[in-house]
Subunit: 712 residues, 2 copies
């Protein structure tokens, strides 16, 4: 991959421009700042309503942790993507009962199935500025580690106080490089059930071939339901639990959208890197991403070859494979996209205009040290990331990963809860337990060993100083044969029982994976300490830098949205096709495209009933008024990223009009740079969802509990 200076001319123009129309992952509290733009773009709701998380439509928005979703009925019915509920479909499938292939529809409430362990529905309740509390006690003279620890302690105090409320899950996240912090409070629904997912040939139509592509024809939707105790409190699965009654739910527009329509989306975008420096961008695109891309490509091939001809193993690793392929394709897209848009040149030009401002004689004395500090610590972090990418592969051995979690857990248990490492506190017990449980459905010793061996080979390419000598020595002593022959960690009961052990008890256990984990521990802790010191300094440097940047933007009169960090964001835009060289994308695909792509074999299979209905043109009330046929997917300019999958798309009146589920491969460079001529989000059209539910799958029970408006 080379980084050329193409598009410098265009970039010079872009660099000075404000955020492009339709760009931005805004905090709900920023709604007033962008109210005028949203109204002008077509929003019919009061923009102020979007700042209020305790009223509709915002209080219908939920997170699944990694995916977004929303309530679509007063009975706690939650719509998200097929690929977001995929793990739960897989968890309930087995040879002879293949819901991944055949789909699943619960005939009654009683038939709704427990989702995969660890599945949660988080109902967003509050997003509160806690910057002052988070930075309490911070001083400029602190070491990185002191700063890190203090911020962590402040964060724990805030989270703990918040989570004293029953069944609340709270987190505090950094915005603008840690110059601002918000506390996000969510009700945690622990009893999540799988209600409905169409056949894989609908929900995953096109599979990996169509992933990140347009034209697209994927019915990427599925339904969960939130359950609570009869008294309304949140508790784990219990037969006596009843559907949760949300405060609000989205009305479902049967009318759908047409090209040019305003759309709004609220969800939980995971990570963007738009505020990284040009030098950081170079480090990611020259070194880190190419490395990660290769590692994932190899991992994907390893899984395929290790599970070939073994259906049970293939089902167990389907989720891991899918995940690896998805990220790999994303990385490839980012690498190509950076090249295509001339990212580094754009970054450099945009950064120059800020730094020119900052280094103006009036401000240079104050801001030059700020810039220099970030540049120095960012370079250090870049090197550490490259090592971590290889070192982290060791956790591909699922039992080693489990053993490390268990041993760390025991170490942290020895401390008071408030002093424990985040992720190992009492509040994390259930999640840890469920992750350790889930192994039973996703682990095959023969496959695990092959993947672990491959990971080891890569790990061994690290420089000696970056390896874990104690681990090396212990592994050599044990040997892979004994490691897998003698371990009992494959036994779920025993694995879980270890969470109650002390470090000493674990250290004296003969289990070879535990012994490996114990051996690794000391070095791992030293690495973690280095990393925290660096992160502390990074927080200081980046928060100062972003503070300066926001002053610069304010001087230019434009709002700045923070990089995505998994917290609730708003974005608005329009239904819009896209011009390309030699082709143009129309805003909608239609049922005809399913027949055109159909081959009878994965990934272009299609249920016979659906094909038959399409051939007959039996679209009834679900046809697009203008197109006079059934719309399947559509494109919009919405600015989203991973984590937004499953986000309900809302029309100008805040009604449900579909689900966001993907972007296009050449647009995923948007994580670094949004370009309105390139970036498009792909949605399932509400009319396709309703048609499949009504005509293909007969999901009338669910249609009956929705509030469908605008029916023909």
């Amino acid at each position: 991959m080379r980084f050329n200076t193409r598009l410098l001319v265009i970039t010079a123009l872009l660099a000075a421009a404000p955020a492009a129309a339709d760009e931005g992952m805004w905090l709900p509290s920023q709604a007033p700042e962008i109210a005028a733009q949203m109204k002008k773009s077509g929003l019919k709701l009061d923009p102020a309503a979007l700042s209020n998380l305790s009223t509709a439509p915002m209080n219908a928005i939920v997170s699944l942790g990694g995916c977004s979703a929303a309530f679509l009925s007063p009975q706690g019915l939650v719509a998200s993507n097929h690929h977001c509920v995929y793990g739960s479909i897989q968890y309930n499938s087995k040879p002879g009962q293949d819901y991944l292939k055949d789909g699943f529809l619960a005939a009654t409430l009683a038939d709704e199935l427990p989702a995969a362990p660890g599945s949660r529905i988080f109902v967003i309740e509050e997003l509160k500025d806690v910057t002052a509390q988070m930075l309490e006690g911070i001083s400029a003279t602190m070491t990185g580690r002191q700063r890190y620890d203090r911020i962590e302690a402040n964060q724990k105090t805030l989270v703990q106080a918040c989570e004293k409320q029953p069944s609340r899950r709270c987190d505090v996240r950094a915005y603008y490089g840690g110059s601002t912090y918000f506390l996000q409070q969510m009700l945690e629904i622990q009893d999540v059930r799988l209600v409905y997912a169409p056949a894989g040939a609908i929900g995953n139509f096109g599979g990996e071939v169509d992933n990140w592509q347009w034209p697209r024809h994927t019915g990427d939707f599925g339904f969960y339901r939130a359950y609570v105790a009869p008294d309304g409190s949140s508790r784990p699965f219990d037969k006596a639990n009843v559907p949760y009654k949300p405060k609000s739910w989205l009305k479902v527009s049967a009318k759908g959208l047409t090209e040019g329509d305003f759309v709004l989306l609220a969800g939980f975008p995971g990570t963007t890197e738009r505020h990284r420096t040009a030098a950081e961008a170079k480090a990611f695109f020259s070194d880190l991403y190419p490395l990660q891309q290769r590692l994932l490509a190899e991992y994907s091939n390893q899984i395929k070859s290790a599970t070939a001809g073994d259906d049970a193993a293939a089902i167990k690793y389907a989720n891991a494979l899918r995940g690896a392929d998805n990220i790999k394709k994303k990385l490839e897209g980012q690498l190509a996209g950076a090249e295509a848009i001339g990212l580094l040149a754009r970054k450099a030009a945009a950064e120059k205009s800020f730094r020119d401002w900052a280094l103006n004689p009036a401000r240079a004395a104050e801001l030059k040290p700020v810039i220099d500090a970030l540049d120095a610590i960012a370079a250090e972090s870049a090197d550490a990331r490259l090592v971590a990418a290889r070192y982290g592969l060791l956790n591909r051995g699922q039992l080693l990963s489990a053993a490390r979690t268990i041993y760390r857990w025991s170490q942290e248990q020895a401390k008071p809860d408030a002093e424990r490492e985040p992720g190992f506190q009492e509040r994390d017990r259930r999640l840890v337990t469920e992750r350790l449980t889930q192994i039973e459905r996703r682990f095959d010793p023969r496959v695990d060993r092959k993947l672990f061996e491959a990971a080891l080979a890569e790990y061994r390419t690290l420089a000696p100083a970056s390896r874990n000598t104690a681990f090396d020595r212990q592994l050599e002593k044990t040997g892979l044969d004994r490691l897998y022959a003698d371990t009992r960690l494959g036994d779920t009961q025993w694995r879980l029982s270890l969470l109650a052990k002390t470090p000493a008890e674990l250290a004296s256990d003969a289990d070879p994976f535990l012994r490996l984990a114990v051996a690794m521990f000391e070095t791992d802790m030293a690495r973690e300490a280095e990393s925290k010191e660096r992160d502390g300094r990074l927080q200081a440097a980046r928060s100062a830098y972003m503070g300066a940047f926001r002053r610069f933007a304010a001087a230019e009169g434009r709002a700045v949205y923070p990089d995505a960090n998994g917290s609730l964001r708003l974005t608005y835009g329009h239904v819009k096709g896209r011009a390309r060289d030699g082709a143009s994308w129309t805003a909608f695909t239609t049922a005809r495209g399913i027949v055109d792509k159909y081959t009878g074999a994965e990934p272009f299979d299609s249920p016979a009933r659906q094909l038959d209905l399409i051939r007959k043109g039996d679209f009834g009330r679900y046809a697009h008024t203008g197109l006079k046929t059934l719309p399947v997917n559509y494109l919009s300019t919405l600015d989203i990223t991973n984590g937004n999958s499953g986000s309900s798309t809302l029309n100008a009146r805040g009604e449900f009009v579909g689900l966001a589920f993907d972007g296009t491969i050449d647009g995923i460079i948007a994580d670094w740079w949004y370009d309105p001529s390139i970036n498009r989000t792909i949605h399932v059209d509400v009319r396709y969802m309703l048609w499949v539910m009504d005509r293909v799958d007969g999901a009338n029970r669910l249609l009956g509990e929705m509030e469908i408006v605008g029916r023909k």
Copy 2:
């Protein structure tokens, strides 16, 4: 692959329709039949001119044998596709002088390089109906073999008479299943030189990734020159040879085309199957194509793995690999295309309307036996094709293939020339010699052995009765190690010298490949005899069937064009994009798309100079007037297939406006069924060619000898 009954409704409508507008690979002599349609479509030339092969523009059209081409200058300059001159670029390349990568431009006439051995330019002179002569002496009571031999004898007589003229190459081909025969007479230019080919990053931009795809940005053009003796006679390469002066050459339109424009194309389409019966279509798509597809996919992987890490070997097998990949992709496209358009249902419906007519009581007594006879013999042929596909793999061992050719040659030499098998007559000596010579550039013993071993494994899956027992026994006796260690066939001098040997001399030679070839001979001859008997009966059956079909078409008032068979054909159509679901294809791609696709690595690399010019928008007089940028490729509705590659595309006035070079993957089912809503030909735009020649490569010498019209 399943064959469903989709689109039956549409098919019922189509079945009765005449040939679609823009459909048809017409014999030049049919121009009067379609004159009105062509005029209506926009032709400005006198349609009658297109029947006359001795005047412009038809006498500027040439064949390269497998590709089409045309004269573009009075100095014998011939334009064709980059992929058509690829073998000659490869032949002249070696490590350190990589014309495949860097391109080649002869600075002067003296720098023009001999094309790959066997390269020919065939100047079309005449296409004459010889049906009466070909069927002379044929009677209904003959056996298949008698009929086959008689037709072959008649053919030889005709060809021999024609080739008595100096330097003429003549062939007689069957049309409409052998109910008509035409003799095609061509001047054979034996001294062909490589003049110019742009860099691989232009000529093969997009590589296999973009092959059969749109949007496309491939500069798929290259130039040969025809050379003859100073007295104008054709002779092999000689330093004293001079450029051939063609009777006419195409004017080059610098204005190019715009969407909707009429286009005309004359070239040599290889094979289509549009007149096959529905049962034959089923046999191809259920059995033969899936088998061939698998065999080619395996072959491609075998070549890649055998040449990995060995640059010299990779160059030697580049042509074979490219060929295999291209055909494999074509087969995949045909299989998917048949499924997508519901080919079998369309065939069945179309056939039904003909057969209903034929089996009308007034005609049934006469035509039912005709139909039954074809159905029976076609079924027999289908079985034989499946065996031949596997048996034929043995020739992937290049030295075995050479040994078989040599031994057969010696056997045929024992007969009078007129009785020899076609391909082994005196007139074939040069071609055979050149093929045997070419091995030296395309053979690597280590690679050959791997490919041969793989071919053997597949051959051994044949039922015992379909194998060659003598071959098996001989191979077992020799063993592969000795086969490759002891052979001298890798020595070109020795290999060629064997053409002078008698069968007895060859049979007593110890060379292990020769011994294998000798062992195979008897069984091979028996198989050939069976095949000729079958083919004789097939000719009788199919010519009768097609005769009936043409009566049917005439009764419906429509012209019937024969299936493609490698002879000169005309087709006309329009520059036209294509609507698809979720996207539409515009008729042109532009230079911008090259930059969009550019990654800096194959297949999306691009010469720095070209990128630089595109970024500057330096298109000068070559910009498309409407698009205001440089057009690169365009789409048309022209009805072409393999063999048409390199065909000059002509505008309504018969001027050169580009080169056809590809179709799209979902359109290649056109070999079986042309659908104007699907089928598109992809062309290099003349303006892109001229721009690359002028601005990127500085090929002013060549531009200077062309007759460029319509310059801005």
